[in-house]
């Protein structure tokens, strides 16, 4: 069965610090990969996605993620976080062509001003 593991449940950073959130998945076939963000009081929004092609994916608000197939990983990065990045971040995976998306448990990021 597919599963998604996010390495950190809570992360606290100061503004301008670099961010890397780990995500590993278990599935042997072709996958689509996603990072979603949920700002306080708001709904889940797509941050970035990977379907095929360049494994380095750039998303909104300066976020990027790198798909490393050999490591079954899709880590999220941002060189310099801002207070407004305080949110919960979910990694998700879906079998290519399928409907079911499996989410990780989420990482709560708090950025200190």
């Amino acid at each position: 069965a597919q599963s998604v593991s996010q390495h950190n449940h809570h992360v606290i950073l100061s503004e301008a610090a670099s961010l890397e959130l780990g995500c590993n998945y278990s599935y042997g076939g072709t996958v689509n990969l996603f990072w979603y963000v949920q700002y306080p009081g708001q709904h889940l929004q797509l941050l970035l996605k990977y379907f095929s092609g360049d494994p380095l994916v750039k998303g909104i608000k300066g976020f990027e993620a790198e798909f490393i197939k050999s490591k079954f990983s899709f880590n999220l990065r941002k060189p310099s976080v801002q207070w407004s990045d305080t949110a919960e971040y979910f990694c998700a995976v879906r079998r290519d062509g399928g409907f079911k998306t499996i989410f990780g448990a989420g990482t709560r990021l708090f950025v200190k001003a």
């Binding site: 449940h9 689509n32 709904h43 889940l44 979910f90 409907f99 079911k100 998306t101």
Partner: protein
């Protein structure tokens, strides 16, 4: 310009009293999904509709049902809510697989269900 709308945002029901949650979309997407998200956990897919085709996840309890009367609306019915069904219920939509541009999901704000 809301795209996926869920009503109500907060719902309180009594143990065993049927409750219906509503979702509508303005995106004209073929696929609509219902997720259950309990506190500090990942969203968990309950079922989805691809047009009129209903697809139930194997581990979704029979207590949960869904209706999709047209493209725009989808309902989640909980026939006899238990205390363990208290959660956030998320509706999402997407285009169908295979279409150009991918088919990521668009989520509504969720309905927080409390069972007393």
């Amino acid at each position: 310009d809301a795209m996926v709308i869920q009503n109500p945002r907060y719902q309180v029901t009594q143990f065993g009293k049927p409750v219906t949650l509503s979702c509508s979309q303005t995106l004209n997407h073929n696929v609509m999904y219902w997720y259950q998200q309990k506190s500090s956990q990942a969203p968990k897919l309950l079922f989805h509709y691809y047009d009129k085709d209903f697809n139930n996840e194997a581990d979704t309890p029979d207590n949960f049902q869904s209706r999709r009367p047209n493209t725009s609306f989808c309902f989640l019915d909980i026939r006899s809510p238990g205390l363990g069904d208290a959660a956030m219920y998320l509706c999402a939509t997407s285009r169908a697989p295979g279409l150009a541009g991918g088919y990521e999901q668009y989520f509504g704000p969720g309905t927080r269900l409390t069972v007393t």
